[in-house]
Every structure is written in structure tokens, then in C-alpha cells.
């Protein structure tokens, strides 16, 4: 799968650039927080913690929560 690991001799080498941390960090914070919230609602909301009262969200994602390995109840 990761055969690209072999030094590409036949290809006129295009050195792989790296992205500076300062360009990644704003995205890691912005998108990272939004994505973590999405993951939180599937994995934990209305379980150990609850932003919204009731159990509708918990029940809606219930089977996924179990099968994705999170403590449910």
C-alpha cells in the first residue's frame, strides 16, 4: 500500500514539501474543534455528559456508539 516509501529513483525527484506549523495551526484549531464536537455528539452526548437534556440524541446514535466502542450506559 505505502509503496511510495521506496525512494522514487525513476521519477525525476520532486522533493516532498512540508507545510509550516503556522499554516496548519489555525485550521487545526478551527476545524479541529468543530470536528471534535461532531465526534463528541456521536460518542458521548447524553451519556456521561449532557449539553442538551433528554435522551433523544443518545438514542438516535445509540447503536453506533456501542459498535464504535464507546461506553454507552
Amino acid at each position: 500500500m505505502s509503496q511510495a516509501a521506496i525512494p522514487p529513483r525513476s521519477v525525476p525527484t520532486l522533493a516532498v514539501p512540508s507545510l509550516p506549523i503556522r499554516t496548519i495551526l489555525p485550521w487545526a484549531l478551527l476545524a479541529g474543534i468543530v470536528l471534535l464536537i461532531a465526534v463528541y455528539f456521536v460518542s458521548s452526548e447524553q451519556g456521561a455528559l449532557a449539553v442538551f437534556s433528554g435522551s433523544g440524541i443518545h438514542e438516535w446514535v445509540h447503536d453506533g456508539r456501542h459498535l464504535l466502542g464507546f461506553p454507552c450506559h
Binding site: L35, S44, V61, D63, L68
Partner: protein
């Protein structure tokens, strides 16, 4: 997405030599942070859809089986309560309904969301939202990894992140705190169990990041292969110690069917492996297509 206006079309820190249409050394046009992010969200969406198919096929039968066990146990508790306290029929029924509502957890016909909805629309919501979120997070890590692991092409470092992520956030946590089906677990300990699980995930993720940092540090002296082997051994040893230090959780009652528990846990493991596997493969392929060297046939067959 909201941030496409701040995308870096030509990559960062290369305001010096522009060489026309050819990609400049130091930037790949498609592989900016937003380029990674969009590919990660797409790969995660695809992975979530395929994971739903697997989870529905292999995961729902043991979930239904466990709920049947739970409801059978609930009925026998009702009978016991009715006998001990000599309540009339109606009172015993009512008290059970109250208890279920207090737990915020009821699986049967009295649930807010019906079982048939939970196992279809509910499950696909969970796998797609979780998959897309995870895809985005993995792609941000992959954006950071690009060009920081020796001779690995962008697709190679992306695959590395996917494999390490699966090991650190799914496989290793599963070995310490395996998934539990409905009916297993004391509702009174959900707080501590959730805390322990996420603490373990966090420690595992940190140790994995340290292992990757270690790989980079010792690679100049040992070479990448030996450095990776040293880091892998280090990760395993540290996580064995961490797993030994973390509290043991075993709330499987003696009368829960062992075969059903095994069926559920192997289904859960397969569900998680599917999510990470499809996500890693699809994201790596998308990244490879955006790699100027990876697009060439020679690059594919090398």
C-alpha cells in the same frame, strides 16, 4: 466550507521563485491544509457509509440479541419486585417505566426512538458523522506529517498516520477497554468509565505522537526502518505499562451469554477496523492523485 477564502492556493512560504505552470519546489498545489481537509472529509464520508453497511450487517444482530437479554432480565426484576413487596400488577409495571426513564436509557418499545430507526437511520447518522469528523482530524495530522518522514511521498505519510491512528485510537484502547453491548455495564458507573476510556485514548494518542517524534529524532542515526522499529517497541512497552496502571473495568454479569459477548465485540472491532481502513486507503489515494509525482504511471508502478 467557510474557510475556502483563506486557502493557500500555491502553498505557503514560496513567494520567491515562480516557474510558470509547473509546480514550484516547496509546494504541491493540491496539498495545502485545506486540500488535505477537504480530502479527509470526503474520505471520512465514504468510510462512514461503508462502515454503516458493515455495522448493520455484522453488528446489529448481536446488538438486538443483547437487548433481548436486557429486556428478559428487566422482566424478571419486575417479577421479583412484585413478589417481594406484594405490589399490585400495575404498580410494578409503573415503577419499571420510571426507572428506565431515570436512567435516560430505554431500548424497548417505550424508547423515544424506535429500534428500527436506531438500527438504520440512527446508525448511519452515527457512522457518517463520526467518520467525517475523524476523516477531517486524520487529514489535519496527515497535512502535518507530509514531508516530515524521510523519503515518504505524501500518500505514504498519510497512510502512516492512518495506521498509527488506528493502532493508538482503536486497536490498543479496545484491548484495554473492549466495547460492550447493551445490557452490559452498570449505569451508575457510566461517568467514571467514560472518563477512564477517554483518558486512556488521550494517553494512547500522546504516546503515539511521541513515538512518531522519536522516529524522526533517531532516524538520522539508525535509518528510518530501525527508527520506526524502535519507536514501535517503545509505544508497545509504554502502553503495556499504561494499561497496567489504568483501572480494570469488568461489568459483564455472569449470566450474560459469552458467545453473544464475543460476537458483539468482534463485530465492534470489525466496524472500527472498516472505518479506519477505508478512511486510510481512500485518503491516501486522494492524496496520491494530488501528488505531482504520484500521478505518473511510473510512480504507481515503482
Amino acid at each position: 466550507m467557510t474557510g475556502s477564502n483563506t486557502a493557500h492556493p500555491a502553498g505557503p512560504s514560496t513567494s520567491t521563485s515562480s516557474t510558470g505552470t509547473r509546480p514550484r519546489p516547496g509546494s504541491f498545489p493540491g496539498l495545502t491544509v485545506t486540500g488535505f481537509l477537504i480530502r479527509g472529509l470526503l474520505a471520512g464520508l465514504i468510510a462512514g457509509l461503508i462502515t454503516f453497511a458493515v455495522a448493520y450487517t455484522v453488528g446489529e444482530p448481536p446488538v438486538d440479541g443483547a437487548i433481548a437479554v436486557e429486556e428478559a432480565a428487566g422482566e424478571s426484576v419486575d417479577e421479583a419486585v412484585g413478589d417481594d413487596h406484594a405490589h399490585p400488577e400495575g404498580t410494578a409495571e409503573h415503577s419499571h417505566a420510571d426507572t428506565a426513564a431515570d436512567d435516560g436509557h430505554s431500548h424497548g418499545e417505550d424508547a423515544e426512538v424506535s429500534r428500527s430507526t436506531q438500527s438504520t437511520w440512527g446508525l448511519i447518522t452515527a457512522t457518517v458523522v463520526f467518520g467525517t469528523g475523524l476523516g477531517g482530524l486524520v487529514s489535519l495530522a496527515a497535512a502535518f506529517a507530509m514531508g516530515r518522514f524521510g523519503g515518504l511521498r505524501p500518500a505514504g505519510s498519510t497512510a502512516l498516520i492512518g495506521v498509527v491512528g488506528y493502532a493508538a485510537l482503536s486497536l490498543v484502547p479496545f484491548l484495554k477497554y473492549p466495547a460492550n453491548p447493551p445490557a452490559v455495564g452498570d449505569p451508575d458507573t457510566i461517568g467514571t468509565r467514560t472518563g477512564e476510556y477517554f483518558a486512556f485514548l488521550l494517553v494512547s494518542a500522546i504516546v503515539a505522537v511521541l513515538a512518531l517524534v522519536l522516529t524522526r529524532r533517531v532516524a538520522p542515526r539508525l535509518g528510518w526502518f530501525a527508527a520506526g522499529a524502535v519507536a514501535l517497541i517503545g509505544f508497545v512497552v509504554v502502553m503495556l505499562i499504561v494499561a497496567w496502571l489504568f483501572p480494570v473495568v469488568n461489568e459483564v454479569s455472569d449470566d450474560f451469554p459469552a458467545a453473544l459477548l464475543w460476537e458483539f465485540r468482534s463485530a465492534s472491532m470489525l466496524t472500527q477496523a472498516t472505518l479506519w481502513g477505508v478512511l486510510t486507503v481512500v485518503l491516501s489515494l486522494l492524496v496520491q492523485r494530488a501528488d505531482p509525482a504520484g500521478r505518473r504511471p511510473a510512480g504507481l508502478s515503482a
